[in-house]
């Protein structure tokens, strides 16, 4: 008995000690992506030092930078605002969640910061960081990292010429396929609508060789400005259906499809897939899977055939794969004890020179609009630079996810699972819609109606 009690007391004092030490006083905290904690911690320490040198009063606290997964962090912040950091990073399409109702984050009010945003960022980003609370529109986020989808490919099999078109990749994939080993042209990361946006958001070259599209998804933040049943989208999806088709439980040779349960890295490594549509966050794993064979390119083009032609889109029309092009922003906590200091810190952390340093140090793709021309490091002939330049190139073909305007847009687009329905139609598996023009038209119009009204049937 005595021994037992000694153990109990020992354990309790240990727990108590641990609890007490963890309850320090509240610092100013910043959450960023896990990969760049050290970089921003260093910069923040420098900021405090500089502040103390230039101001009479010392900075009231120290700054603690922590690395988190942005999606999970936004969720936790929503559930418990007080436990959130003073400044944190979210992809802009999560902002709708946080600004719902009377907003859980604090609007940007400093004019110099607003000027910096207006000067430095592309218009697409400026549009999506605004949200309206009780009739007044505010800037809620400060973009500092950009991201879009690119193509990671197996350079051993595919040449730079092959990856210009899906047809080229597909033909190669078919040629290396055997009866025992069906090789896919590309793996998708999932069917969540971000990853198969390359078809839905594809743009075509019109008669004057201009990139055109009829697609509208909450254009300018308008609730029912949705349009995906245009002739061009119909033709593009019909083209896609031939590549997504699943036969006997497997994606056909030369086709495109979601990565299997072993993961896309295995597919790339073992040559079951020749490429991957992915983001910068897949870069490290792609490098591990392919080693020196890794190549990076912008998403390929494709050409409509007789079978896909629809309405005004005739055979021979060339489409460029699209992408959602996102930015990551700093947002401010509502009710922070250090409210007056936050905007200045954010302005410092998102300044052009800081973005350039972050690009060099931790490969954060800058959200600065002229980065491709002005940043020396971007022009280097390395795979890292290639990744950045491809992403920046993709911005021309992509749109920023328009869901920052309102939380409901995000819910309607993703949570109502319309992309899942489109994916099911493309693969012909578990789809309620017939694999015909009429079935596709019905599906697309249904999607538009869900996005506009939020009503499912």
């Amino acid at each position: 008995m005595k021994k037992l009690f000694t153990t109990i007391i020992a354990v309790f004092s240990l727990v108590l000690a641990l609890t007490l030490t963890s309850c320090g006083k509240k610092q100013l905290t910043i959450w960023v992506g896990s990969e760049c904690v050290d970089f921003y911690q260093e910069k923040c320490d420098a900021y405090v030092e500089n502040y103390n040198a230039t101001h009479e009063e010392a900075f009231p606290t120290s700054i603690k930078v922590l690395g988190v997964d942005a999606g999970a962090a936004a969720q936790q912040y929503l559930n418990d605002v007080e436990a959130g950091p003073d400044i944190f990073t979210i992809p802009h399409d999560n902002m709708g969640k946080l600004t719902a109702g009377s907003s859980n984050i604090y609007p940007i009010r400093s004019q110099s910061l607003i000027d910096q945003i207006n000067n430095d960022n592309p218009d697409a980003f400026i549009d999506v960081i605004q949200a309206s609370v009780q009739g007044t529109s505010y800037y809620f986020g400060v973009p500092y990292i950009a991201q879009s989808l690119v193509l990671f490919y197996n350079a051993d099999v595919l040449t730079a010429e092959d990856v210009k078109t899906w047809e080229g990749i597909s033909a190669k994939a078919k040629s290396v396929s055997t009866n025992d080993k069906l090789v896919k042209a590309a793996d998708l990361l999932g069917d969540d609508g971000f990853n198969n946006s390359f078809l839905l958001l594809a743009k075509y070259f019109d008669a004057d060789n201009n990139l055109t599209t009829s697609v509208k998804i909450y254009e300018n933040g308008v609730e029912d400005a949705n349009m995906v049943h245009g002739d061009d989208t119909m033709a593009a999806l019909k083209w896609g259906a031939r590549y997504f088709k699943v036969e006997n439980g497997a994606t056909i040779a030369g086709g495109i499809g979601k990565a299997g349960s072993s993961g896309w890295e295995t597919d790339l490594k073992d040559g079951y897939a020749l490429s991957l549509i992915g983001g910068a966050w897949n870069y490290k794993a792609a490098k591990a899977a392919l080693g020196t064979k890794l190549g990076i390119a912008v998403l390929p083009q494709f050409t409509i055939t007789e079978a896909d032609a629809y309405g005004t889109i005739s055979a021979g029309t060339v489409f460029q794969s699209g992408s959602f092009a996102d930015c990551k922003c700093f947002v401010l906590k509502k009710g922070s004890a250090y409210q007056q200091y936050l905007e200045d810190i954010v302005q410092y952390l998102s300044s052009v020179s800081m973005q350039e340093e972050a690009f060099t140090a931790v490969a954060n793709l800058p959200a600065y609009k002229n980065a491709a021309e002005e940043f020396a490091a971007m022009k280097a002939d390395t795979l890292d630079a290639k990744l950045s330049s491809c992403q920046i190139k993709m911005f021309e073909y992509g749109i920023a996810q328009p869901f920052g305007f309102a939380q409901k847009y995000n819910t309607r687009y993703y949570s109502k699972n319309t992309p899942g329905l489109i994916y099911a139609w493309l693969t012909g598996v578990n789809s309620e819609y017939a694999l015909t023009d009429a079935g596709l038209m019905e599906l697309l119009q249904y999607c538009e109606s869900v996005w506009s009204t939020g009503e499912t049937k």
Partner: protein
Amino acid sequence: MERAAKKPFFHRVGAWFARLGKSIAKPFKRFGLRFKNGSIYTKISYLLMGFGNISRGQIGKGLVFFLIQVAFILLMVLCPTINNTPLGYKAYINIVTLGTNEGDAFTHGDNSTLMLLFGVMMIILTFVFIAVYVANTRSSEKTDQIVKKGETIYEYRSDMHLLVEQYSEKLSHLSLNKEEVLAGLVSRTDQLIEENRRLPDFRDKYVENLKNALEKLEKEDASVDVAKKEILKVVDQEAKELIALPAFKDDLHSLLDGQFHMTMMVPAILMIVIFTLLPTTFMICVAFTNYDAAHQGTLFDWTGFATFVQIFNGSGTEISKMFFPVLGWTMIWAFIATFTNYFLGIFLALLINKKGIKAKVLWRTVFIMTIALPQFITLLAVRNILSNRGPINQLLINLGIISSGVEFLGMATSGLTARITVLIINLWIGVPYTMLQTSGILMNIPKDLYEAATIDGANKWQMFRSITFPYIIFVTTPYLISSFVGNITSFNIIYLLTGGGPNNPGYYAGKTDLLVTWLYKLTMDQMEYNTAAVISIMTFIITATITLIFYSKSKAFNEEDSFQ
């Protein structure tokens, strides 16, 4: 008792309600009578808690009651806020409105979630306070009774003092008149008992003590004064002991003895109330609100049964389209999983316990590895081993059974494949449990049953069929039913293997989702809290119904003497 159980169901329900009514009314009646019959002190302690105890010198106990009252009143009136949401009386108002202030871009509005939670918390706290309050009136009533007893004793005591004075003459010749003295004192005592009808237990003890005192004096040949003092000491001592109110120290000591169950239960119950009862009540309340993804971070409100109605009205929402399919699969899953585990578990137990098999412990150890290892490790390993480029697919390809990798789990093209696979993998996890449980039972089969069978010339198979098997079925029926209920709420196996997939395009609930995994998705991923709460309640109703049937059945089993 046995007869009562066989009465028709509605009779029992009727009787139950009648008993319920009575048991509810009883405390109120007692509460009223206590006030009516109580002393002025008790009447005051209906207003000022602990007054009855303090005024009678039970300072410690009384003070505890008083401080509880002060704390509760302060809490109610001052309404301290936690995270900007008030407790106290305001929490009662807030649980009705669930917040009115939307806030603006720069300031926070009301927090409906916390308002609901604190409202529930205050209601539970109020019930606890009422319980303490009633305990206070009862404690005061108890002191009333003791004091009343004490008054009689004091009366008796002064009587006795007079009596001893009268006998003092005789006391001087103590050795001669002992019997007489004793008889006189005792008869007076009996007379008093007759008058008061209150102290019968006191008499024997008193007489005993008196006798002892007289005998002692006899031996020591004491003087009159000493004798008088000695006898009066006995009288005073008795009186004092009888009317002494239990001191605070004694109350504390009773926590180790008479009230030991309180000491043991209160910490555990406190934890249950805070971390299980309160959250569960909160959850039940959420089912009647519109707290969903669209109301995350803003105000939500009461909506009554709206979410429940959706289950049946086919409105196209997640719950109306998916509830019955998911429920159906949950039931099929629970049924098949329970029985396959059960039969294969028995088979394995018989195999290991077979006469002549060596190293039984080693074999058993091999199989309980799946119990010993955390499921997130074993199940994730299985998930990956079965993945489309994993070793199992490679093995099947090498054997020429399939030509290219097949998806067995969450990404399977057909829901049936995934369902069959999870049922098979469930054996891997579940069979060892049944094996362990039936091993114990197998070893306990009464040997005389076998002997009897051998006499009848039964062979092995017949013995198994007619003895071993019925016996196991009989003994394990309760286990079967509880394992059925357990399978309805089995979470890890589905969550870790398929994540509910393959998907149903357009819905969150996938083809292998059980009610609990669906509920998890709706809560943690989709924030559809009200829908999730409704599903929780429905799951509860289903498991509770089955458990209830099980309990009435198992009672019937217990009444039977043998299974044959």
